[in-house]
Amino acid sequence: MTIVIEASGKRNKLRKRLADLNSPLIILLTLIASAGVLALYSVSDGSWTPYAMPHAIRFGLAMVVMIGIGVTPLKFWLSLAYPGYFFALFLLLLVPVIGATNMGAQRWLELGGFQLQPSELMKVALVLALARYYHGLEFKQVSSITGLIPPLAMIGAPVGLVFLQPDLGTAILMGLSGVTVLLLAGISWRLVTLGVIAGVGGAIAGVQSGLIKAYQWERITAFLNPDADPLGANYHPNQSKIAIGSGGVDGKGYMQGTQSQLDFLPEMQTDFIFTIIGEELGLYGAIGLLGLYLAVFFTTLQIAMSAKSHFGRLLAFGIAVTFVSYVLINTGMVMGLAPVVGVPLPLVSYGGTVMLSMMAGFGLVMSAWIDRSQDTLRTSGFGS
């Protein structure tokens, strides 16, 4: 009997949590993913295959995952933070050992028939772990050496591993969101300044010592001089600028983009998808999409602000920052403001792993939203 009551109690609880989902966030994410479907449909000359339909299906599945994570109590994720982080780190360490090499970089693990990119898992796991860490740290400890070493190590280890794969874009993204969580946790400004100086120094040392490979450096600096090497490093950003610029205010019309449809931008279903929106839908379309992203950011910010637990706050905002980092780096990249480092436009670019990791992240945000009123969290084991 007790089991039945408990089960029905659980059902009620689940129903209540489902009702409590943040619908604006769901709507915004769906709108963004729809823009992706629209763009991918145009990329393949008005065809659902090979990109648009899989994209839509993946988003549907990712949405289920997001809701699943969202309805799971936040304290469960708190308890899973460290194990999750170490599991992700373990997988990252496995990559160089048993990973698959693709286009000169080892990023993938073949696990029983499906591919896993541990760095994507780590992006979420890192934010989660850092939020967990600061959740349990007294404020006065934040800027102390003892308080600073663990999080820096937590950031440094995966960033270093990903950088060596080599996957510069993901390393930058990961480092950026990690450091942002540190900033949000309240480390002193003096340390922030020191950190910036150390970062710049480290980058210079990296180049000098050859740790950053020549082709990476070329790609990093190419955007500063768009007229050089127009058929090499600058081909994509230049053609993409032409596409967006020629789109004008109104755009050339859906599926009418000459740059996109005439193959001047190959492989645009991935990192350069923003181009087709700018070219075909013009300033209106591009600003509209950016507006959606900004709306997601502020909705998540609002969720973070409303969370009573420090874990929930840092987690939600950390995910939000990771998300907009993608957007800013990607759009900067396609418009010649940032180096081409292989960062996709989340939920719009074709590719399942990033979509899944971002939606999983928003699942955590959702969980933080539903459990926003819990001011203290009891970490619980798997069974409790």
Binding site: Y134, L231, G245, S246, F264, P266, F297, F298, M335
Partner: protein
């Protein structure tokens, strides 16, 4: 596990920091938005233009070269479809890889790949390079099929120059080839504006575009080339044309058609005659001998070169295609000099044909043609005996008889009464020692010796060279320093026949309209002097003279003169001292055989010259060939068309000729 108490301090700090980060993110979004505005509004026009530049392309459409016809409108040179494959280096992922892949679907050797790679280094990467042309349809179709997988490979159908193989007009028409750097520079310099120069260069650099390299193809290149057209096309990133905007296309206009004075059929007939064995060496023990000969036939009213034949000849198509080194070397090193246009570039001592001019010069110096000279076979001059070709002697001869029998003694006799400069002046007047600017490249001037010539020739080394009277004796019979080309000899014959300053021409019509026929002026001098020579030439052929076997009687009355000119001096057997016959010495030392003629005798219309190198004797090797050539020419003459069925089965030539204004 420890439970953290709610911490107001860190919450407040978080709120501040979050606000800060949100502000920063907002600023970055504004930055991205500003960049969008910058690209899509402020610099929209610039990028719009660049996108247009990407997708739209003005393509020059190469014009077809003007066709070249013979005098009856038969094609001598035209354009035929050409299947070819090009590569645009800029659009390939890797030029070498692409070529290697291409080699799998079409014949392409490593050597050719290297050549293309070299060329790619030297020119702008967006310019296409010809990989191979003149492909057969199967290969072309296969490349076409596979080229979709190979970025930068373009297959197209162009036009290439083709020459009628039976026209034998290689030397007249010349051939075309790809433009060299020099051709491009020259064309650029000739352009009025920078734009025109740029356009010309683009055109010249188009793969498969050909320019005239020799002959009339070169001389009349500007007219033959035509004007390129242009069309606006939309292309994709691989250079594939997506759409062609035909509305505002400017079609190319084909180059001007050129009508030659040449008669293709007569040219072919002449080549056949020249290359046939006329049994010039009946005692030949060494087997067949080589034949290197040339012939020119002129219409003496218009100056039209009806026939200009040289054998052995080559096929200009191999030059248009791009000749292989091996074949080139073969042609270049042959002792028969197939690359030499003998009618205008070959010079030969005119031999006895020159006696006609000596005879005119003598009359002009007051020597009566009826005065007779006795030939006993030798002539003593300067303490030396000169032997007539007929060593038993001709007996008593007047001037007409001297021509008929080609008596040397008679002319030696005249030579002692003439100055060399007087002979030289007549020779010049009758067409020797000059060029006619036919537009087919280097014409040999030949040599008409005179006192001034000798001074200039030796350039005072040894000093103060003077003309020796003995030398005049040689020149009087067409030996010694005097040389002439077959064309000059034909002109000489035409001028003797008409007593007019006949000048040859090769172009009869340009762009469908006839070049006005020239009116030749009367030559200075008494026509009566020439009459004696004409009569002598008639006697040579028709009254049992030296060329009796060349008579066309009873059909036509042809007048002519034989010539046999020595290549080496005395040819005696080293043991017996006997004079050796032509067939007893190696081919290249034998005498040249010459013949000049005009016909019909009473009302001359055609003049002709035939030179058979090392042919032995004019009467055996050159005369009969001239006879057969002239028979064909006369039978084809519109006025004789009804009488002779030789050309039956062709078009109504009379009508064509009338339309063309030949008669």
């Amino acid at each position: 596990m420890r439970v953290e108490p709610f911490d107001t301090q860190r919450h407040m700090e978080f709120t501040r920091r979050a606000t800060f980060v949100a502000g920063g993110v907002s600023c970055l979004f504004v930055g991205v938005g500003y960049r969008l505005w910058d690209l899509q509004v402020a610099r929209h026009d610039e990028f719009r233009a660049q996108a247009d530049e990407n997708q739209f392309n003005t393509r020059l459409i190469a014009p077809l070269r003007g066709d070249i016809y013979d005098r009856y409108g038969n094609v001598v040179a035209n354009n035929v479809p050409d299947f070819r494959v090009l590569v645009i280096p800029e659009r390939t992922d890797n030029l070498r890889d692409t070529l290697v892949r291409l080699a799998a679907v079409m014949p392409l050797e490593a050597e050719q790949i290297d050549r293309i790679l070299n060329k790619a280094k030297r020119q702008r990467s967006f310019l296409p390079i010809l990989v191979k042309d003149k492909l057969d349809w199967e290969t072309y179709a296969s490349v076409n099929f596979h080229s979709t997988e190979m970025r930068g490979v373009v297959s197209e159908i162009g036009a290439s120059r083709a020459y009628a193989e039976d026209a034998g007009a290689a030397f007249v028409v010349g051939y075309v080839g790809s433009a060299t750097a020099d051709d491009i520079t020259r064309k650029r310099e000739a352009a009025d504006t920078d734009e025109a120069a740029e356009k010309a260069e683009l055109l010249y650099r188009q793969p498969g575009y050909k320019v005239g390299k020799s002959g009339l193809e070169r001389t009349l290149d500007d007219r033959l080339q035509g004007d390129p057209g242009s069309v606006r096309v939309q292309v994709n990133a691989h250079g594939r044309v997506i759409e062609t905007y035909k509305d505002n296309a400017q079609p190319p206009s084909q180059g001007t058609a050129i009508g030659l004075t040449i008669d293709k059929d007569l040219q072919a007939k002449t080549l056949e005659v020249l290359a046939s064995n006329y049994g010039e060496y009946p005692d030949e023990a060494l087997g067949p001998h080589p034949l290197s000969a040339s012939a020119v036939v002129l219409d003496i009213i218009t100056g039209d070169v009806i026939v200009m034949a040289s054998t052995p000849a080559f096929d200009p198509n191999v030059f248009s295609r791009g000749i292989e080194t091996k074949l080139w070397r073969e042609l270049n090193e042959s002792p028969l000099k197939p690359l030499l246009n003998k009618p205008v570039q070959g010079t030969y001592p005119p031999g006895s044909t020159f006696k006609l001019l000596t005879a005119i010069a003598a009359q002009e110096q007051g020597i009566d043609p009826s005065t007779t000279v006795y030939c006993n076979g030798t002539y003593r001059f300067g303490g030396r005996d000169f032997t007539c070709w007929k060593k038993e002697g001709h007996g008593r001869l007047d001037m007409e008889g001297s021509i008929k029998h080609s008596c040397d003694v008679y002319y030696w006799h005249l030579a002692t009464q003439l100055g060399i400069d007087q002979i030289a002046e007549v020779a010049q007047r009758y067409g020797l020692g000059q060029t006619y600017d036919l537009g087919i490249g280097a014409e040999a001037e030949g040599i008409v010796p005179s006192q001034a010539w000798k001074r200039a020739y030796y350039r005072n080394d040894p000093p103060n060279q003077t003309w020796f009277p003995g030398e005049t004796l040689s020149v009087a019979i067409g030996q010694g320093a005097v040389t002439a080309s077959p064309l000059q000899l034909a002109v000489m014959s035409a001028r003797i026949a008409t007593h007019k300053a006949v000048t040859p021409r090769l172009v009869r019509a340009i762009g469908g309209s006839l070049v006005p026929e020239p009116l030749f002026e009367e030559l200075p001098g008494d026509p009566q002097n020439v009459k004696v020579v004409q009569d002598g030439m008639n006697a040579v052929v028709n009254e049992w003279g030296t060329a009796a076997r060349s008579s066309l009687l009873p059909d036509f009355k042809m007048a002519g003169k034989t010539g046999t000119s020595q290549v080496v001096g005395l040819r005696r057997d080293p043991v017996t001292g006997r004079r050796l016959k032509n067939e007893e010495i190696p081919w290249q030392f034998r005498d040249h055989a010459l013949f000049v003629a005009f016909a019909p005798y009473e009302n001359p219309r055609y003049a002709c010259s035939v030179v058979v190198e090392h042919g032995g004797s004019g009467s055996k090797a050159a005369g009969p060939r001239a006879r057969d050539i002239m028979r064909a020419v006369l039978e084809k003459d519109p006025s004789n068309y009804d009488k002779h069925q030789f050309w039956k089965g062709q078009q109504d030539l009379t009508e064509v000729a009338m339309l063309g204004g030949a008669r």
